[in-house]
Symmetry: C2
Subunit: 684 residues, 2 copies
């Protein structure tokens, strides 16, 4: 510091001190001032993560709430229109189908016209980004508008399209995080490294989930399970803090909007907590887990097949290439026709919105008992207090509607996932699982109408508990996550069923993970994004396969004193982004790496067989040490595939050089590793 400045500062302090003396309690006031300045210093450090994460949470909560608000207004308008049209079936049909067709076509057209990245959920792409692959343009802010507007339209089409919002919210949240990160860097000038970016993206994913369900803890866990292969506990709080801010704000807005009296769960249930379930029921919960696991395998297989089929089939390929909105409109027409309440829709509870579907399935009453005592066979409008009545069809009973719902939605939802519009697929899966659970629960309640008696006390069976377990187990199996169990508790505000629900989730997951890749991995495979399969613990051969059996051996190396010609030759013969530097081409001892960009700029500043243009450069026209970067990590020829895979995943490596007593002998990229792992599963 300049001495003059210090003097000035001291003079200022003296002046202040003199002024202070004239006021009462000068000492106390000074101590207080120093304390407050200290607190200010702690709180207001520019670029601190707290603000960043807080802002992220609040922004996402605002977007989520606004979207929900708009969607519910639009859905209400549609419902009102349907009622106003009275008995004219044709007009009602027309209004029923035009609404989703228009919204879905607009959503597709609008989103695709701005950016082709806005389709689908975005989680598979984000997952790929978090493994270290750079997907340019994917997190740019211009996707934002496309995704928000498109998603609002998609959701406004209601349960006809059967789509959700979790995936796009994770994508939106990570876009905002990336944008805020860039803004922060430009304000503070701090260098933001890769690992920090990574942490922020994981936190953003947590915010995305938590602002949809108002579930902070499971938001963090779900995003970690889906996104990362490992996670640092040190950064746990980031996701936690941001997700809590988001969830709190999201529920707070609901209170301000008088939707609720106080902050509480989004799909609040009212199960009996003194006796939630009887011990023998655990067996049925386990069966539910098996059923959910099996159906999820079938679903994952069909979904992956259909996604591939739509890409292969020449007709759909042509349609997708030129007229995406038309494809969406055709599908919307099909689905709206099926769900028309006067037609098959009466067996599908199609008048309920997505939220109402879930709330009705989590009902703590037994539908079968209720439907026995039902007076009016078919209510005119949807009764918010008795949503279950939409499921009670006098002809085929509630069992019939539930079964029909499960069968129809299976293929309808599979078809809906091929739509090229911004949409989430978690919520539909969650509802589907709840329907499976409800069917099982109602069946158990039907078989044991008086409950399973233990010690003379009669405790009726609560099918809602099965719906909860089904939702958690099925969504967990489809996404290969366990934290859906917690999500179910946080979203419903009750945790009494914890042990049976976790049992179901574990069983369903064991089955699904054994036979199918997860929904997100499946999409990554179909979309041909870079993907590293996992090594299963039973593949003990992975310990026996050594790196020298699968590494790439034809690699270009540069000697440390490489001249223009050598560099030119190497750079033209390969399009790698990094080249290994060796001490000389005979011993080939690896001393570092050099980036392609450095080599290109070297070639630009030097000329062939000439002295460099400027005197600042080295005069011998060879690579300077300055552009050689150190190699922190290298594999040896005898590293096992298992260990190499573990390190690739842990360190997010894209490639690694292989050495043998310091001498470079090869290179392993994710491609080689993937091939080696696939060979493990299908040995030639």
């Amino acid at each position: 510091m300049d001495s003059q400045v210090i003097e000035q500062g001291e003079a200022g302090d003296k002046l202040l001190a003199q002024k202070d003396v004239l006021r009462p309690f000068p000492k106390t006031r000074r101590t207080m001032k120093a304390f407050l300045l200290g607190v200010k210093g702690i709180l207001f450090r520019v670029g601190d993560d707290w603000y960043f994460l807080f802002a992220l949470g609040v922004i996402m909560a605002l977007i989520s709430f606004t979207m929900d608000f708009t969607v519910s207004k639009l859905l209400n308008a549609h419902r009102w229109l349907q009622q106003e049209l009275g008995n004219n079936t044709f007009l009602r049909y027309l209004s029923w189908i035009v609404y989703p067709i228009a919204l879905v076509a607009f959503s597709t057209g609008f989103a695709q016209s701005i950016t082709p990245h806005s389709g689908g959920s975005g989680i598979p792409e984000l997952k790929t980004i978090l493994t270290g692959v750079i997907l340019e343009e994917y997190l740019t802010i211009k996707n934002f508008g496309a995704k928000v507007v498109g998603l609002t339209c998609t959701l406004s089409a209601g349960s006809t399209m059967f789509l959700g919002k979790v995936g796009p919210f994770v994508h939106l949240s990570s876009m905002i995080a990336a944008y805020l990160g860039r803004m922060r860097t430009s304000v503070t000038g701090h260098y933001e490294n890769k690992s920090k970016e990574h942490e922020m993206l994981v936190a953003a994913a947590a915010v995305g989930v938590s602002t949809v369900f108002g579930a902070p803890i499971s938001g963090v866990l779900f995003s970690v399970e889906v996104m990362s292969s490992h996670f640092a506990v040190r950064n746990y709080w980031r996701g936690f803090f941001a997700a809590t801010c988001g969830a709190f704000m999201f529920r707070l807005l609901a209170v301000f909007n008088s939707e609720q009296e106080t902050i509480s769960a989004i799909f609040k249930t009212n199960f009996k907590i003194t006796f939630p379930f009887d011990l023998p029921e655990t067996f049925f919960y386990m069966i539910l887990g098996v059923i959910c696991g099996t159906i999820s395998c079938a679903y994952l297989f069909c979904q992956r097949w259909l996604l591939g089929y739509v890409k292969r089939n020449p007709y759909t390929t042509k349609l997708m290439a030129n007229d995406k909105p038309v494809y969406s409109a055709i599908l919307a027409l099909l689905m709206a026709t099926i769900t028309f309440p006067d037609f098959l829709g009466q067996y599908l509870a199609s008048r309920l919105s997505m939220k109402e579907l879930l709330v009705s399935l989590f009902d703590n009453r037994t539908w079968w008992t209720l439907s026995q005592n039902m007076s009016s066979p078919s209510p005119v409008g949807v009764d918010p207090q008795n949503l279950w009545m939409e499921w009670a069809n006098p002809q085929i009973t509630i069992f019939g509607t539930l079964l029909f719902f499960l069968i129809m939605k299976f293929w309808m939802f599979t078809l809906a996932t091929t739509l090229p519009l911004p949409a989430g697929y978690f919520m539909p899966v969650f509802i589907y699982g709840a329907a499976i659970g409800r069917l099982v629960g109602e069946t158990v309640a039907y078989i044991f109408p008086d409950g399973i008696t233990s010690d003379g006390v009669v405790n009726p069976i609560i099918p809602g508990g099965y719906a909860l377990a089904g939702a958690a187990a099925y969504s967990g199996a489809v996404t290969h996550t366990l934290s859906t169990a917690l999500l179910a508790f946080e979203a419903t505000g009750q945790i009494a069923h914890i042990l049976p629900v976790i049992l179901s989730v574990l069983i369903a997951n064991a089955i699904a993970q054994k036979f199918q890749p997860s929904f997100y991995d499946g999409t990554i495979i179909v979309k041909k994004l870079p993907y590293l399969p996992r090594i299963r613990s039973r593949q003990i051969n992975s310990y026996k396969v050594k790196t020298n059996e699968f590494m790439k051996t034809d690699i270009e190396v540069l000697p440390r004193d490489a001249k223009f010609d050598q560099i030119l030759q190497v750079i033209t013969s390969s399009d790698d982004t990094e080249f290994p530097v060796v001490d000389n081409t005979e011993t080939r001892v690896l001393v570092g790496i050099v980036k392609r960009s450095h080599l290109v700029s070297f070639l630009e500043t030097h000329e062939h067989n000439q002295e460099p243009r400027s005197p600042g450069h080295k005069t011998d026209g060879s690579l300077s040490d300055g552009c050689i970067e150190p190699v922190n990590f290298q594999l040896s020829s005898w590293t096992s595939l298992h260990e190499a895979h573990h390190l690739f995943v842990l360190l997010n490596l894209q490639h690694a050089f292989v050495t043998e007593y310091g001498k470079i002998v090869g290179c392993v990229t994710r491609k080689e590793m993937r091939k080696a792992i696939e060979n493990l599963a299908n040995p030639k």
Copy 2:
């Protein structure tokens, strides 16, 4: 396969097939048989993790339940004795103090006589083991008996000693896991690598927590947060599965023992879920977070100071060295005297057991209102339905007892942590936090006796919710974890307070993490176990400090063709366990490492300046390539401290060699790194 064997096999198959034909449905039966064999093959693979984890969970649940059962019987016997002795104060005092003194002295003596490792919780040591340090003897099965018997005695001393069982259970569980792992290796002969062991220990820690609280999800999360610096999502299910088995079995045993009607939470609460808290109360929950954070800082400081003081003070050091039971007995005498119900104990609710203390604090009623309407001022025995009456003292009111409890237990518990007996410190911290929360909650309820009116509806304040938040926030702050929030919900079976509780936990954690190391880290520091401090995100200098500024440069290297003399010289001049091998001593290019044990056996098989004894050895008497192991990982001179630290933590490294263009220039161990991080905080 031998052709004869195949023929025999085929002949056998034919015979079987012929037999089968005689029975009905031969085809169906064969298909079924093949299917069942397939299922059997999937389920009964020897050494599969499922069985291992299942066994671990069940064994720990059995131990936990048996211990709880024994402890409750012993506590009941003590309570019965106290009642039988009637009005004779001296006899009652005698029986009150003799019981804990005898138990605690026996616990100390028994545990210490078997193994000195059995004292304390065991979590700090386990945490150290999981960073890759080998603490011999710590996980041997002979500690098991010492810990089980010792802990049972400690717990039987009741709330007088104010100690819990979480930590020892984590230790017990990891001992069993290590034992089962060794057993499995000996049965299957499979090679079990380091990372597998690591995973199993983390899963074991989860089982330990979950079998104490019956809380599977938070068991996993808490153990991950406390034990690991990062964790692999791929192995998530292991902990989850084992913890669920443990928790399920633990609660199942309670049902079989007729303690409960069905599987439910261990400290079941009964809060109003329709309106758990009003919006403005969030503010008080935040204040509670600040209070808990502040008190936790004070506690952590005092605890660390006292632990150190006991080690430094010559009198206590002498006592601890020779007469540990005497030390324990003196402390027990002091505490039992203070908690004697006719003396100060009446202000400390000292007649309640640990579990009753927690249940009473989580009461959904307002103590202040209850105590206003109380008829009998002092009940004779403890009323299980009205545990709060133990807190209601007519002289100093409930506020007085709560405040007195907090003040007394602060130093009493700090003192108790110095006891050299097997004991856990989580449960007392949890109860202490609940008492802080109850005090704040009762105060808020006192200030707003009619609740905070919103829209004319009167909703009284539930102090139990504050107790829940206090327990989660204080225990979270002391252990630097966030998952205590979830633990509180799982243990009480209600999740309605989720958002305010998480807010309190976050605030308390922010304060505690800012000013103090966690309870476990503090113990590690005092016990002088190897410890790597974390780098705080505000220490941006860690990006600027390069490895060459803190590495150790005086390292011994071996040339690849080292002769007997050189090896002897290197091995005697240093006691490192690994030595770097270079191609030659001039270029010093790192080509590999060689283990000390290899060098020693080399020296044993070769003789100085002589031909080797057996003809199988290399004839030139230099190191063979066979014992040179590859270096997978090396730092460069320009790696930043931040990155180096990150890699050390991520890869559980103990040391790494530093190279500069392939040439070895130094070495970094955890010691150097620790010093460098400490220099960041206190620059010279």
